[in-house]
Symmetry: C2
Subunit: 392 residues, 2 copies
């Protein structure tokens, strides 16, 4: 059972083809795992070897290209027929200078007589290496290559009913994991035990709906380490009294992620921490009020920045990003669709974001975030969890 | 507390510099997270944005380049001093065509007056995109770029005492996770519940030693899905009677991984499954006997292939790969150091591998693997777990 109807996949391919036509592309070679999934359904943990999905203006069905070991995964997770599943032999792997998967891809392009066409490639997507591109261009000297980085990512921004349903399940999962983690967190409890509980809850899911593996492991630094944005638990350390902890995690269902971050203080929080948390909450509330169809991403960020500026605070980094399908190394959609200065994209209904106001100050960090959906008239949270500093 | 002494990191840098000198490189820009870690100690989940470690022939200490949010992680996880930690501002991210982190890297190279030097880059490493390379070469027209893909990966192949100790802890972790998973597996038990238990055990570790997040999530297909190499649990399905299950997981400690795979049959296994498992075990036993210093990787593979050929079986893909430090998207060392035809690298003491004999046949797959170390005279398993088909 595929997570979407064949018609929904076909509509997506139609959108991709329209955009290709606008940009003058005949053929598109997608390698970002989330884009591969969105177009074909492909879902396996094979992203560490070269693979891709090829869309052509003159064909209805895309092609999957991947390792022969993974062809069964392509058969069971995509809507593609046998003719459109093209496995390569293992000999193409492990010796990039000798023979490479891109040689196989080039041969496929020639077989289809597309070697003099305009071919879009995702030049700055995760996994599309410099070597892949050199190899492709050398093997296809008559092709015109054009950059398609983030092109399909943008098409993913507005979610369908079914996609939103999956994000809702992901939200229920992350709420449970966050609740249990906060509940467990006491002085003397090992940090890795809380990490273990989060991973457990992420996979157990809601009961009815099992969870999937997350594109990124729990970010859960404590104490001074909250000053860093991407640290996980200590393997041997325990939580201590008078310690700040920051948890950023997601739930995942059918590869759709709902991220959530909360900050916890174990003990009696210093005024500066509870004040910073209040500023965070005031900032996210103001940004939520501002976010609605017709407003630009930068306007939302400005409301947040203006709010925190009143308290003499600033945040250099963006305060949110588009979210949906995710694969390692990250759950964000990798577009410029962020709440940040200069981003003039206009919000539309059913765009989804991880709205991420966080303040990393001297020696500690506070963040209180929400996974949100733009509605017809405003914005609502997909995650439902108390929007506050937690004190234990 | 860093996981290694400053002297061990310095020895590693010395090895890197010797190899650079041999290959005529003045400067080396490392981006593979495991290589960054090996040289500098850097350990944070920031690999989804551009970052790197720069080694220069004329300096003792490498430089870390990363996002400003992650500089605290660099301070606490590396042996580098402040001068050698170079954070970039968020404005370099999210719009690859406008301004890019590689512009910052190029400015750094110019600041160091290395812009006319020979610079090694990891052209086929995960995360080093085609766009990064175009941007770097455009910004540094006088530099000579040379390919350093897998160069440092090979230097990591022979492990130190301390590295082996960490792999031993990782092995204890994976043994526990595998044991509990097999114990739980009964008809009617949800697949995601077993996945959740594995993730829990991987993070809980041995008790004394907490575990770390794994570079790749559990591979745990059941039934027909065992014909695929990289599928995980079903979110809603339960294990059934007369079902084959394949589990491939790792334990991780200080980023060192010990992988292990076992095959389980729930019910009374058909003769073809138990026969295939016996062939697997006979094959791995023979390959373990053959593996010793002085023998080439391809010779080990040939022993395996000859053993299974006796039974009319063949395996196209390699039957093992070098293993050690791992980050998403994979725990292998990404070298050609595999047990595969044509690989003429000679085994040395303290090389470590995931020896991975697996047979994917029509409609099912069996694999029984070991994490191994080459000793002075032979090979021994780092993982200690019954080498058999498990029947439940």
């Amino acid at each position: 059972m595929l997570p979407f109807t064949k018609e929904e996949y076909q509509e997506r391919v139609q959108k991709v083809k329209s955009t290709m036509a606008e940009k003058g592309m005949d053929v598109l070679f997608l390698v970002e795992p989330a884009n591969m999934n969105w177009v074909s359904g492909y879902d396996a943990m094979s992203f560490y070897v070269p693979q891709g999905v090829v869309v052509s203006l003159d064909e209805e069905m895309p092609y999957w290209i991947g390792r022969f070991q993974d062809q069964y995964s392509a058969h069971v997770t995509t809507w593609l027929d046998d003719e459109h599943i093209r496995p390569y032999a293992d000999k193409y792997l492990w010796e990039p200078k000798v023979v490479h998967v891109m040689d196989f891809v080039a041969d496929f392009i020639k077989e289809k007589r597309w070697q003099a066409k305009t071919i879009g490639v995702e030049k700055d997507a995760h996994y599309f290496t410099a070597h892949w591109f050199e190899r492709l261009t050398a093997a296809l000297p008559d092709a015109k290559f054009t950059d398609a980085t983030n092109m399909v990512n943008f098409l993913r921004a507005v979610k369908s009913k079914q996609e939103l349903d999956y994000m809702g399940i992901a939200a229920r999962i992350v709420e449970k994991a966050m609740g249990n983690a906060i509940h467990m967190m006491e002085p003397g409890v090992r940090e890795n035990a809380v990490g273990a509980q989060i991973l457990y809850d992420q996979a157990m899911g809601t009961g009815a709906f099992g969870g999937e593996y997350i594109a990124l492991n729990p970010i859960i630094p404590s104490g001074d380490r909250t000053a860093a944005a991407h640290l996980t638990w200590k393997t041997e350390g325990c939580y201590e009294n008078n310690q700040l902890v920051y948890i950023e995690i997601a739930g995942c269902y059918r590869r759709y992620h709902a991220p959530l971050a909360r900050t916890i203080f174990i003990g009696d929080p210093p005024k500066i921490v509870s004040d910073t948390a209040k500023v965070c909450v005031e900032g996210i509330n103001a940004a939520m009020e501002a976010a609605k169809p017709g407003v630009t991403c930068e306007e939302v960020e400005r409301v947040w920045q203006t709010t925190i500026n009143k308290y003499g605070l600033e945040k250099e980094s963006r305060m949110g990003y588009a979210v949906g399908i995710g694969y390692p190394p990250v759950w964000m959609e990798n577009t410029s669709l962020c709440f940040k200065p200069g981003e003039k994209t206009v919000l539309q209904p059913n765009m989804t974001f991880h709205m991420m106001p966080g303040l990393w100050l001297e020696g500690y960090g506070v963040a209180i975030t929400e996974c949100i959906r733009i509605t017809d008239r405003g914005a609502e949270t997909i995650t439902k969890f108390p929007r506050q500093l937690f004190v234990k």
